[in-house]
Symmetry: C2
Subunit: 521 residues, 2 copies
């Protein structure tokens, strides 16, 4: 089940033929999308903020929370019955876990697995030294290329799928890249899953807003990958938020059960705004996160032992003055670093971070908050990174310009992750000997041989002189991002998709839509 | 010589009485400067990108560079003579160092020392787990509060000194915070040193642009601290750039000699734009930096054994397309992380990083590049950080708005450096027990007791709703930074300065100015 070279069902395998052409066309249009990069295999160390004593203390405290306080599994009789059978002490909807129960159950969860794309070249590893970036998730609004902030539409959704497809260091197509508010709420998952399959060949996420929508997502995946392949391989990662503090609700449990039964991955993510949903301290927040993840992740193993599951963490704080969420500050970074360590000790792949910010525009606030979060994300060793590009306003808006700026930063993180080249070529002693004191390296043989790949090249940073920048119209980075975004969308070419699969998907979508009245809330 | 509580000469000790009043006034004006923070004592680990093998390889290669290729000490007969006497092989202006010579000489250099301020409460440690932030250095232009980019003046210089004095997490007054181009080039050091002493009580840097200007800086310091105190304590840190590759020039050597003779600190800093002044690779650049620092730092010990000296690194790359310098990219971050490791192994305090960027305006480009650099700076364990706030355009312009944005980020770094509180209060088990599943922490006793200090509070980030932000005029962070900067400058109050010292300083400045004709180049 776990070989990255495994290929979807015979006769249905899709090559990404269109990809090369799209990349070339975008590249010709100037500063365009380069070739798609494989997922990141980190050659650099992880950064750690807790020592053994601190980790053991938090693990102990989480065990106390699980046993003494317990976690609620709300309005799901099946879940409560499963916990009873597993040996938990269930009182009402509150589950109290004997010490060690959750960890014992989690022994069947894989520490690494492959998340398959319909184009096998785009399949990614989740866990270990792998890092996978995915776009913004869940925004009801967009900030569009005309500078308007408005409700998102299906066209926006498709645009973000296209941009994620073209961004070299975006390794996944993501999930709800924005909420297509123009489509009825009970039907939009069909258009979303279809758009991911149609407009990209990178791995995508399933719908989690209702069990039947999760079932639809699985059914559509089966039309692409084949029944057996889906039942035996992960083709969808699915975001299961805890209702912190210490609650899993019916909706999320319903989706988690569907995905686990079909062997698909759950990302168990306490959604934490410290000070509101968790204590105002880092260690207290980590304790609660660990308890919640232990309960939620082990629940997936009750459903199907071996189902892939991630230790997720969404960490932010609230302003103690206004109650508003804040991002990119030190405390959530410490929480995420610590959670990453706890996840590694637990042997589960880890999700955190992204390019988070509270700003309403892609200004320096947005960038500082995003960069503080993203640098931490890389060094923490996050395996799966939602919201890696396009996130604005605490996630309320998906922003085209910020998507472009962020995806450039993802390229930098990908290069950073390669670490220091200590080969003879990296050591460059020939160059130092050739150049000598007082000369320069621009023309030396070593520079000539290496300059194409030596440095990460940003398509958006303006490094020219002030005078040149003035002549070119005193553009800010968001102006350049706007132009680059337009050129990418112009140059976009869809990856090939077997017409028979396309037809089957469209028929499924039509049939499911026909079976339901429109619902808008 | 090395006790942080040591105080400048009797009768000359200055208390920062004005400080509290200024802070209170700024605070009353809204979002103002808080109380000055002490220098950072890092409780978090350093991040490392090289293992033992890599470090040993680079050290070996640097030894080869020192012995085989050598370093030029240009137009300084005294320096060459000193190297001959020390056992080096001097051929023309090129010095070849027998293996181990530089490291042997550096055994007398302190691994930590105190950089004294005229207000002892503002004295800082340099080395070990200490991190000290200093403002932008050397910009001929400013980007002012009216949005104009123009040559800097003495008034700008004083303004940046005042802002650095008021910024809570700026631990030093810096040096050439901008070039006061309206003052003759041969006299402006007098106004600069005087301004640091008059308008701040944080530790400052001396002039390095000519040996006689270094002597003037020492003479003025003696008027404040007393002769003996200066000769036996570090009261000035001084920036000595190598002329990379592998050259120290007459000017820098002249200043280094003056400062070392008086026991003042030199920051030996290869100024590296990789690809031009060093190889295009990280390991090659590290090798050259290490060789240059070994030569330059050990030279200070030839002048006066025991003189404080720092391992400095200014790391950037050039665009291989345009030749322009680029900042905040992965390769210079790897260089700085590696250099920090080499410095720690050498037992020298380390300088790198800051808030570097190439952008012409304080936009998202400026912020991403600055944040990438600053996050690295903290985690690398840099001891002294020049350009920590205000740097724009690759250092060509000092920007008021960016200064304000950056100093906010410095506050975040200072908080981050405190790491995770694992005390009972940090663990917050009482809070988790009190709140329980499904409730919130806003009103619980633990939150009420801790919310004032729990989270870093940015005076500039807008975390409000989109609607509130619209009502407040759709301001970008640079608009808010502009307003905050104006309020700080309005609220500024100078720290107390003994009138006798002030008079002596003014008389010295007048006398020195009278002794020279004006020079403008």
């Amino acid at each position: 089940m776990d070989d990255i070279t495994a290929e979807p069902g015979a006769g249905r395998r899709q090559r990404g033929e269109g990809r090369g052409a799209a990349a070339r066309r975008a590249s010709r249009s100037g500063g365009g999308a380069g070739p798609a990069m494989p997922y990141i295999t980190r050659k650099i160390r992880t950064y750690e903020v807790l020592d053994e004593e601190g980790l053991a203390l938090i693990e102990h405290n989480a065990d106390v929370v699980l046993e003494e306080i317990g976690i609620e599994f709300r309005d799901d009789a099946e879940a409560l019955e499963l916990w009873k059978q597993a040996g938990a002490d269930v009182r009402g909807q509150r589950v109290h876990f004997p010490k060690g129960l959750c960890r014992e159950l989690l022994k069947t969860a894989p520490s690494e697995f492959t998340w398959h794309a319909r184009n096998p070249e785009r399949s990614v590893r989740i866990g270990g030294n792998a890092t996978v970036f995915a776009p913004v998730y869940g925004s009801p609004f967009v900030r569009d290329l005309e500078g308007n902030r408005r409700y998102a539409t299906l066209e926006d959704f498709r645009n973000f799928v296209k941009l994620a497809y073209m961004a070299p260091s975006m390794h996944s197509s993501g999930g709800t890249v924005c909420e297509p508010v123009d489509i009825p709420v009970n039907k939009r998952h069909l258009d979303m899953v279809y758009s991911h399959i149609k407009y990209s060949d990178k791995p995508f996420m399933g719908s989690v807003t209702a069990p039947e929508r999760a079932e639809d997502s699985v059914a559509m995946a089966k039309l692409v990958f084949g029944d057996d392949f889906v039942e035996n391989n992960c083709v969808m990662l699915n975001l299961i938020n805890a209702n912190s503090p210490m609650v899993f609700d019916e909706t999320m449990l319903g989706a988690a059960k569907v995905y686990a039964r079909h062997g698909q991955a759950s990302v168990i993510s306490p959604f934490i705004l410290s000070g509101a949903m968790s204590p105002v301290t880092v260690a207290g927040t980590l304790t609660q996160i660990l308890a919640e993840v232990l309960a939620g992740a082990s629940f997936t193993q009750l459903i199907r032992p071996g189902a892939p599951v991630l230790f997720g963490t969404f960490a932010a704080s609230i302003s103690m003055q206004s109650g508003a969420p804040t991002f990119g500050t030190p405390e959530p970074a410490l929480v995420s670093y610590g959670a990453a360590q706890l996840a590694r000790r637990m042997g589960l792949p880890f999700r955190t971070g992204g390019s988070l910010c509270a700003s309403k525009v892609p200004d320096a606030q947005a960038a500082h908050e995003s960069a503080n979060t993203l640098n931490m994300t890389l060094l923490a060793g996050a395996n799966f990174v939602l919201h890696a590009a396009g996130w604005l306003e605490g996630g309320l808006a998906a922003c085209y310009e910020k998507f472009m700026i962020d995806q450039d930063q993802l390229g930098m993180m990908q290069k950073m992750a390669q670490g220091v080249d200590l080969s003879d070529d990296g050591q460059a002693m020939d160059a130092i000997r050739e150049v000598g004191p007082g000369a320069h390296y621009l023309g030396c043989a070593h520079t000539q041989a290496n300059f194409q790949t030596a440095f990460y090249r940003s398509p958006l940073a303006d490094n020219n002189s002030f005078e040149q920048w003035e002549i070119e119209g005193r553009k800010r980075i968001e102006d350049r991002a706007n132009a680059l975004c337009r050129s990418w969308l112009d140059a976009y070419e869809a990856p090939a998709l077997d017409p028979a699969i396309d037809e089957a998907l469209l028929a499924f979508v039509a049939s499911r839509k026909d079976s339901m009245p429109d619902a808008f809330s």
